[in-house]
Structure formats: structure tokens, C-alpha cells
């Protein structure tokens, strides 16, 4: 059974097509990642589904039931973590969780709030005011708040943006735990590592459209490349003219998609010798979602 079904969703702002005919399903109990660069239309899509924005066209179904308007009944079944965490700054962590439980008309005991704080490792911050929390702690509080009504579906919009690697891993651990508990999660992210690590299925979105979807392995297989050779050079432009399939990443590395690694390495080194170009930091790696996106759009996810 699909927890969420979206059909032909559209949202235009004047000439800008923020969401342009998006259709997808989120099966119950799965984690689905909406992956795409900033401005791809991910947040607009999920905010329409959450009821924060009005759609211009399209249909939304919650548990196979059409939701023309995202009303209080739907909202009481979902938990939302917004891209930007915003709470009342002078309330404590405990009071914030208690408040949101009240907004869902959920009767919570002290032990329920403590359980949520333990889950997101904020038990020591129970009496701290929100304004004193770090970025990572705020994100974890946002996660706790999104779980206060024990939702069937969880929307997590860029849950780790702006966090340091340690804080990011911590949030990932919590999401994995929620996944094990059987929650349906729709996650939007522009971090391919996040999608690869957490998602059962990935929807790649660009310019308001879903341009590819499937499991991580399906998407990677779809580009028909065995490996990627990454390296750096001081004369990238000259080399790119000689080898048209070479691409530049956002880290100013050159990437060469290959099927036969050995043959390609020979070809690359011979070419470099011929043109008197030095090549450094050669790395051979398996393809990832970044490569899928690059292959589909010609741009990096971080562009």
C-alpha cells in the first residue's frame, strides 16, 4: 500500500515552473529520498503535500485516499521537519515538545517527552532554552517535535543541511532507527551520500521534474558505467578537448566514466604523456548518485 501517491503535481510562480507535473509513490514503511540540487523544486513539492502551499494542479493521495485539501485529519497523521528549524526561542526543549504535543491534542506524560528527548539525545538539554541550542541540537529537537504525534508518515526536508559531519551522522542514526520502527519517510536532500545511506528508493528531481527514480543500485546501473577515474591536472581544458567524455566536478577534479578500467588508464596516461600534461591524485571508484545526476543533467548536484 502506498502511504503517499502524487499525480501530475504542478505549481507555477509566474513563468517559473517550480513543480512541473511531478508523479511518484511512497510505499508504506519505506524511506524515499527526493534528491536534487538547490532550487530543483523538492521543498515546494513536499510543502504542497504537507499542506503548507496550495497546488495549481494535480492529485495527492494519503493511504490511497484522495486529499483535495490537507486538513487537520491528514495533519494529525504526519510529522514534519522543515528545512529551516524555527521554534519559540525562550521556551525550553521540554516545553517545546510539550507544546507541540498540545497542538496535536495529544496527551503526553512526562515519560513520553523524556523518551523522545532520549531518542534524539537531548535529555541533558531538557531545561535549556531553544535559543541556546547548537544547529545540530536544533535539528534533533525538530526531529523530536516531528515525532510527538507518533506519525505514520514523516517528512524530513534537508534534515542535515548546515550540520558538521558528526552531527550529520547522529541525525542519520536517528533516521535509521525510525526506519527500523517502520515509519514511512519522505526525505528531501541534496546530499547524495545521505540518499545513498538512508533511502530505499530515490527520486531525482531537477527543474521541477522527476528525471529518474528507482533504488540506488537501479539508478547507478542505469548509467552503464563500471567505474570512474578521478584525477587532477593543471591543463584540464587541453585534456578535455582530446577526451570529450571527461567532466569537471565541483572540486575541480576531472572525472572519466569508464567500462574497462585498465584500457582507459592506459589511454589516459598515453594522452597525458603525448601532450606533456602531468596527472596527479588518480582515484578509481565505483559510480554513485552524483554520477547519475551528472550523467542525466550534465551538472553536478552542488551546481
Amino acid at each position: 500500500m502506498n502511504a503517499i501517491t502524487v499525480r501530475n503535481l504542478r505549481k507555477y510562480y509566474g513563468a517559473t515552473k517550480a513543480v512541473d507535473g511531478v508523479s511518484f509513490d511512497v510505499p508504506q514503511g519505506e524511506v524515499v529520498a527526493l534528491l536534487g540540487p538547490n532550487g530543483a523544486g523538492k521543498t515546494t513539492t513536499v510543502e504542497i503535500i504537507e499542506g503548507l502551499r496550495e497546488k495549481d494542479d494535480g492529485e495527492i493521495f494519503y493511504f490511497e485516499k484522495k486529499a483535495d485539501h490537507i486538513d487537520k485529519t491528514v495533519k494529525s497523521q504526519i510529522g514534519v521537519q522543515l528545512q529551516k528549524t524555527a521554534f519559540f526561542e525562550y521556551l525550553t526543549v521540554y516545553e517545546t515538545i510539550e507544546l507541540f504535543a498540545g497542538l496535536y491534542n495529544v496527551k503526553v506524560q512526562k515519560s513520553d517527552i523524556e523518551r523522545l528527548m532520549n531518542l534524539v539525545a537531548l535529555q541533558e538539554k531538557a531545561k535549556s532554552r531553544v535559543r541556546t541550542l547548537s544547529g545540530g541540537q536544533l535539528q534533533r529537537l525538530a526531529l523530536a517535535v516531528s515525532l510527538v504525534n507518533d506519525p505514520k508518515i514523516l517528512f524530513l526536508d534537508e534534515p542535515t543541511t548546515g550540520l558538521d559531519p558528526q552531527a550529520r551522522r547522529h541525525v542519520w542514526e536517528i533516521i535509521e532507527q525510525l526506519k527500523q520502527e517502520g515509519k514511512t519517510i519522505l526525505l528531501t536532500t541534496h546530499y547524495m551520500e545521505e540518499a545513498e545511506k538512508l533511502a530505499d528508493r530515490v527520486l531525482i528531481m531537477d527543474h521541477g521534474k522527476i528525471i529518474a527514480s528507482g533504488t540506488v543500485q537501479e539508478l547507478i546501473r542505469s548509467i552503464d558505467m563500471e567505474s570512474y577515474i578521478e584525477f587532477t591536472t593543471d591543463k584540464a581544458q587541453i585534456l578535455q578537448k582530446e577526451i570529450p567524455s571527461l567532466r569537471v566536478t565541483d572540486h575541480e577534479k576531472l572525472v572519466l566514466p569508464v567500462i574497462d578500467v585498465e584500457e582507459s588508464i592506459h589511454m589516459l596516461l598515453n594522452k597525458a604523456k603525448e601532450l606533456a600534461i602531468s596527472i596527479d591524485n588518480i582515484v578509481i571508484r565505483r559510480p554513485n548518485l552524483e554520477d547519475v545526476f551528472l550523467n542525466l543533467t550534465g551538472r553536478s548536484l552542488r551546481d
Binding site: E89, E95, L103, Y104
Partner: protein, 390 residues
């Protein structure tokens, strides 16, 4: 239930911030203290420099009598401000109401009597001075005027002696202290300023916390976060209104406590009529707040507009002095006549037995009512944008 919980959170969030606690709860008390300390003292002495002298001229002075007229001209504008009355009764009435400090009666036949004194050493002339019994400033004014006129006497005596070598008999001052008339609407500065302080504290919440809170929460996505729950924009607005109402009640209660215990403000402030007018004022102030938020998209713009509106509504609204009774340029008077606060503060004062203007009862309720209607209309057109609901 949802609204109550959200109201509680909004209230706590506001009062835990220093400015959220200081402006609605502490500042009105400080302002009340300063105003009463400074201005109630000044009304009892009226500056202590200029006395208002009422003169009743029963004849036009001529001949030697013009000497007195010249003296009266020289004592103006300081230390005396002269007000001429047609009758002694009218002057005495003004003295009893403390509108003047002193009455000088120039009796009929004074000019001839003075000529007789100077030329023929006749009977001494009588000038009556009326002062207010038990009024320090009135007694002081009387003594100052007497000493001035005695100097005139000395000069006249010198002239008489040099002219005729005769004897000069001094003017006889008959000082007649009269009892002050007690009136039901006797001016009491603390009572006068009490409605203004109450309105000021209400306005600080309605004009600052309401629009700035709504805009800040919209810009910071706090309301968006709330809308992800079953809370809608109307729940949120109601909660904010309720939380501000609680703050207003606490703020007013503190002002009441100070006014009744420390400054003995008229007990009529506890009457149903006064409290109803206060509730009406709260509704009007809320409406001004929602007008600001309807037209200001950004926090910084709203802050500037609110500050300007706040000052205009306070000062031109006649909170601290009756603007319309002063000789102000007509555009200022027009603005003052349009402002709802002009009518709100006057309405509150009337229920305390003070009347500054001659507005009809109809005007006192109608003009603020028009503000409420217009504001609700403007707000309803901008509701979705203001509340951050796309």
C-alpha cells in the same frame, strides 16, 4: 485547548525576553511615577514664577489713576499674567476654582480718590485684594503684589511731598482671603494621567508585540512550523490575541495597583463603565496593530511605522496634555480629531469625572468604532499574506 496551549507558549516566550517583560510591565509604572512626580507638583504651583492675576475694573482709570494702570502693565508678563473680569463674582469664582491665584478689585471712583489723596491729603484709597485661603501660591501672589504697590506708594509719596510739601496717605490694601470651592471634578493630575498610562501600556502591546510578533514569526518560519500541525492561521491569531490580552490585563492591573495605592486615583476607575471603556480601548488598539501588519511586509518597515504611529497616537491623542485646547496649527488639530486615541482617552477621563474636550457621547464611541471596522476590513484582505499562509 490548542489555542490555550499556544497562548501560554506565546506568553512565556514574550515575557522571558527582557524587552517583552520591561515594556509592558515595568515601563508604564516608571512613566506613571515620572509623570506624577514631575507634573502634579507643577500644577500646584504652576511653575512658581507666573501668577495669574484677575483684575476687576469698575471704572476706567484716568488722571492719577493711570499711575496704577502703568504699574499693572509693568508687572506683565512676569510675575503676573493678567486676566480682566467684568464682575467680581466671576473673578472670585475663577479664584475658587484655582484658575487664578489672585483678584485685584479696582473700585469705582479710584481715580478721583487718588487725586484727592495726592492733592488734598484726603482719606486713604482702598484697593481690595482677594486671595485663596490655605493656598500658598495665592498668599504669596498677594504679598508680592502688595509689596509692588507699596513701592508705588513710596514713589507717589515722594512726588506729593516734593510737589505740595503735604502729607501722603498710603493706599490701604484690604486683603480678603476666600475659601476654595470644592468641585466634583476637581483636577487631580494622577487621575488625569491614569487613563493615558493604561492606554499607553495597552498600545505598547497591541502596536508592538502584535504586528512585530506576527511579522517576525512569519519571517523566521515559526508560524509555518505551527501550520504543519493541525493548527491553522485563525488558531494562531487567536492564540496571539489571547496571550497579548493576558499581558494587557497584567499590565493594567499593575498600573491600577500603583494608581490606587500610591496616587489615590479616583475610585471610579473600578466602575463597570470605566472597565467597559478600557475593554473597548483594547479592541481599538488591537485594530490599529492589525492595520500596521496589513500594510508592512518587512519587520524593519513595521518597526519604523509602529514607532511613528505610537508617538503620534500618544502625543496627538492628548495622553499627556489636551492638544485640542492649545493654539496648534490646524493640520495637527485635524490629525488629532481623526485619531482613535483622542476619543479613547477622553472617554476614559470622562468616566473618571474629567472632561477636556466637548465631544458628544456619539463621537466618543463612533470614531474609534470606525477604526475597528476599517482595520478588520484591511486585515481580512491581507489575511493570508500576513499570517504566512500562502
Amino acid at each position: 485547548m490548542r489555542i490555550l496551549k499556544l497562548s501560554k507558549a506565546l506568553f512565556l516566550n514574550d515575557v522571558r525576553e527582557f524587552s517583552g517583560f520591561f515594556w509592558p510591565f515595568v515601563f508604564p509604572l516608571i512613566l506613571f511615577f515620572i509623570l506624577v512626580s514631575v507634573f502634579s507638583g507643577m500644577t500646584s504651583t504652576d511653575g512658581g514664577i507666573v501668577f495669574r492675576l484677575g483684575i476687576v475694573k469698575e471704572e476706567n482709570l484716568a488722571g492719577f489713576g493711570t499711575i496704577l494702570e502703568q504699574v499693572i502693565e509693568q508687572i506683565q508678563p512676569e510675575p503676573f499674567q493678567v486676566v480682566v473680569f467684568d464682575s467680581l463674582e466671576e473673578a472670585q469664582k475663577n479664584l475658587q476654582l484655582k484658575k487664578i491665584e489672585l483678584v485685584l478689585r479696582i473700585p469705582k471712583g479710584l481715580s478721583i480718590a487718588m487725586a484727592r489723596v495726592i492733592l488734598f491729603a484726603g482719606q486713604p484709597t482702598k484697593i481690595e485684594l482677594y486671595t485663596l485661603a490655605n493656598s500658598y501660591e495665592s498668599q504669596l501672589a498677594g504679598k508680592i503684589l502688595q509689596s509692588i504697590l507699596q513701592q508705588v506708594d513710596l514713589e507717589m509719596a515722594k512726588q506729593v511731598i516734593s510737589l505740595t510739601g503735604g502729607e501722603y496717605k498710603e493706599v490701604e490694601f484690604v486683603a480678603k482671603p476666600i475659601e476654595r470651592k470644592k468641585t466634583s471634578n476637581e483636577f487631580h493630575y494622577a487621575t488625569y494621567v491614569f487613563p493615558a498610562v493604561l492606554l499607553m501600556s495597552i498600545m505598547s502591546l497591541a502596536l508592538f508585540n502584535l504586528p512585530l510578533g506576527l511579522i517576525n514569526n512569519r519571517e523566521e518560519w515559526v508560524n509555518r512550523r505551527l501550520y504543519t500541525t493541525p493548527t491553522n492561521a485563525l488558531d494562531y491569531l487567536s492564540s496571539m490575541g489571547l496571550s497579548l490580552l493576558v499581558s494587557m490585563v497584567i499590565s493594567c492591573a499593575l498600573v491600577y495597583l500603583m494608581g490606587l495605592t500610591l496616587y489615590k486615583v479616583n475610585n471610579l476607575c473600578l466602575s463597570v463603565g470605566f472597565i467597559l471603556r478600557l475593554l473597548y480601548s483594547i479592541a481599538v488598539c488591537f485594530s490599529v496593530g492589525i492595520v500596521i501588519v496589513s500594510f508592512c511586509r518587512r519587520f524593519s518597515t513595521a518597526l519604523v511605522v509602529t514607532q511613528i504611529a505610537y508617538q503620534i497616537l500618544m502625543f496627538l491623542g492628548g495622553f499627556y496634555f489636551p492638544v485640542l485646547n492649545f493654539n496648534m496649527p490646524w493640520p495637527i488639530k485635524v490629525v488629532a480629531r481623526i485619531l482613535p486615541t483622542t476619543y479613547l482617552v477622553e472617554n476614559l477621563r470622562i468616566s473618571l469625572g474629567l472632561r477636556m474636550y466637548s465631544f458628544s457621547e456619539f463621537e466618543l464611541w463612533l470614531i474609534p468604532g470606525i477604526w475597528i471596522l476599517a482595520s478588520v476590513l484591511a486585515f481580512s484582505f491581507n489575511f493570508k499574506r500576513v499570517m504566512g499562509y500562502e
